[in-house]
């Protein structure tokens, strides 16, 4: 039993870190510009296809491909902001919700036309590592470490660099930031770009070990919402911890009950947090 639990715990922690960065993308965009990005899942799926196409067509190592996906995500996100979000950012929530939902539908429609919905696989393996009775898949381990590295990188960016500080300032109080001479429009574009990048990178990492279709982003988008609420929307560290909690839950719970109960528990937790602590575990008290 101990070995089964520790195997589940390790699997859960590893996948939880990846969930964490997916959720970070969502929560960062919310925190900075109060936009709920409903295209989040579709962008995760695009990240998966990015890796797939680079690997299958160009034979690029998936971890090099990851860098390409990250840069494309950042630039694509900024472009998307300039084209669409910028025009509705001061409109009521419903407008931004509908705008991002429209983007979601466009991506999924184009993706279905181009790739159909048959499952794809990045046929890549790094083997596995044995720790006693526990077998750890190396691609998952690398993904977990990459996720951890990205989180640290994001923190250094937000707290140690000037643009990072601008991002936090805009998140805090956009008007005040503008009065201090911060170019808020560019900072918003940058934040949206980073949010999209995180989603795409999470998708790319997931694609190295799970099969996917253009519709595969949806479950991760849902998880991102739960994680965001759990950790406190707008708080990247909260997203990471939320991701870990969700991952561990998914790993451990099936040891005690049928695995189909996992989503039930996850969403019960979601409701519970909303009732008891709506600002999330790490959210600022209002």
């Amino acid at each position: 039993m101990i070995s089964a639990l520790s195997a589940s715990l390790i699997d859960g922690l590893m996948i939880g870190l990846v969930y964490g960065i997916a959720a970070m993308g969502l929560t960062l965009i919310w925190g900075v510009m109060r936009v709920i990005n409903l295209a989040h899942g579709a962008i995760i799926a695009l990240g998966m296809f990015g890796i797939y196409l680079l690997f299958t067509n160009l034979g690029l190592n998936p971890y090099l491909g990851l860098l390409v996906v990250a840069v494309a995500g950042l630039l694509g996100g900024m472009l998307l902001y300039q084209l669409t979000i910028r025009r509705v950012i001061n409109a009521p929530y419903l407008s931004t919700l509908l705008a991002t939902f429209a983007i979601n539908m466009i991506i999924i429609g184009l993706g279905t036309a181009a790739f159909s919905t048959s499952p794809r696989n990045v046929d890549f393996t790094l083997g596995s590592t044995n720790l006693g009775e526990i077998t750890i898949l190396n691609t998952r381990l690398v993904a977990a470490l990459a996720a951890l590295g990205i989180t640290i990188g994001l923190y250094l960016f937000l707290f140690r660099t000037r643009p990072g500080k601008y991002v936090r300032a805009v998140a805090n109080n956009r008007t005040a930031a503008e009065l201090m001479g911060i170019p808020s429009s560019r900072i918003l574009a940058l934040s949206f770009g980073i949010g999209v990048m995180l989603a795409a990178v999470a998708g790319a990492l997931i694609a190295t070990f799970f099969p996917f279709t253009i519709l595969s982003g949806d479950p991760y988008q849902l998880k991102s919402f739960v994680i965001g609420v759990l950790g406190g929307l707008g708080n990247p560290l909260g997203a990471l911890v939320g991701g870990l909690i969700l991952g561990v839950l998914e790993g451990i719970v099936p040891n005690f009950m049928p695995n189909t109960w996992v989503p039930v528990l996850e969403f019960m937790l979601f409701v519970l947090i909303l009732l008891v602590r709506p600002s999330g575990l790490f959210g600022a008290k209002r």
Partner: protein, 432 residues
Amino acid sequence: MKRLQTLVLALLATLGLVLSACGAQNTTPANNNAAAPGGGGTKTAIIGYTASLTGKLNVESTRQSNGLKLWMDQVNEKGGVKLADGTTVTFEAKFYDDESNKDRVQELYTRLATDDKADFLISPYSSGLSDAAAVIAEQYGRIMITTGAAADDTYKKGYTLVYQAYTPASRYLTGSIDMLAQLDPAAKKVAIVNENEKFSKGVADAVKAYAESKGLQVVLFEGYDAGTTDFAPIINKIQQAAPDVILGGGHFQDGSTLAKQIREKNLNVKMVGLLVAPPEPKFAELGDAALGVIGPSQWEPQVNFTAEAAQQKGMEWFGPTGSEFVSAYQAKFNEEPSYHAAGGYVAGLLLQKAIEKAGSLETTAVKSALDYTNMLTFFGALKFEVDPQAHGLQVGHDMVFVQWQQGSDGKLVKQVVWPTEGATAKALYPVR
């Protein structure tokens, strides 16, 4: 209030008119061209069906429809079927695209039975669509052969004219238990993990009951959601239960992912048997993870049932041999036939045999001939349940089990390992 009453009355009146119109169209099934009295004339029997030329079932359904077309061409080339009164019957297909959509199926089968005056019906592909079509066939009094449809419950609704060509879901995996008993009588522990969906759940329930009846211990019995990609929690659970054998799966995507992750986790089991995925050629792309995995198939091109085998079993042999079917199909469609194609062909074969035996195109005569079907074909044995509780359920046909094995050139090859009389290789056991 008064207006409401008038409205309701008007609606009822319309409904009545529509119903009586439908009733009027529901007259005798046969026939079109008048037969010359005294024999020697010709007739055309219309075979109505739908195929999913578009939508998610497109690939399988097209193959099934190709198989049926091949049968029809062959019969017609040979001059058709002779009836008792000397009339020669040739066949004509009437078919539509059902878009893989249940509602379309019901609409189109109604049209086939009424406007097109089809004499016999063949089902669309898949259990769901066939179930929808069966209601219509029964309602309009047409015989329907279902193929590409394995669910059991269609035959438990009291239908009398619907006949199943495929082995039903309830017997999909039971052969693996018999196989295990022969390979390793000491193996006692079975883990069953299946997709939570009608077909897979039906198979899992049935194999669980069968395994327990054979004295095996089911150490884990669990479903997973359709669309699951992360099997790590389930595999950890299987590891904990330490089974000799894992059975289950669902469809291609989840089955191949499960097989892949079982291998990645180095799970130590002697046999892995999964639904649907292993017989697909694409399964070999899993490489090492596919090695040794067994799976049930309705039919495989290599399986070799013969007229001699039929004689030994005291059954009648009918139709072409497996290799004749494979080469004719390959010549016409330029690809190796899958079991879907064979299923389409055999649906035609069943009708042909019954019409020959009945010597008539009348529904009642053909129905009683079908009830007494007991023959061996290249597809395997065929026999129907005649008890009204499950009329039309396939009871003669058995699944064959394939296993991916290492060929002499190091590449993976699909071998038939069960039943032993149709096998092309010995089963690889234990896998690891």
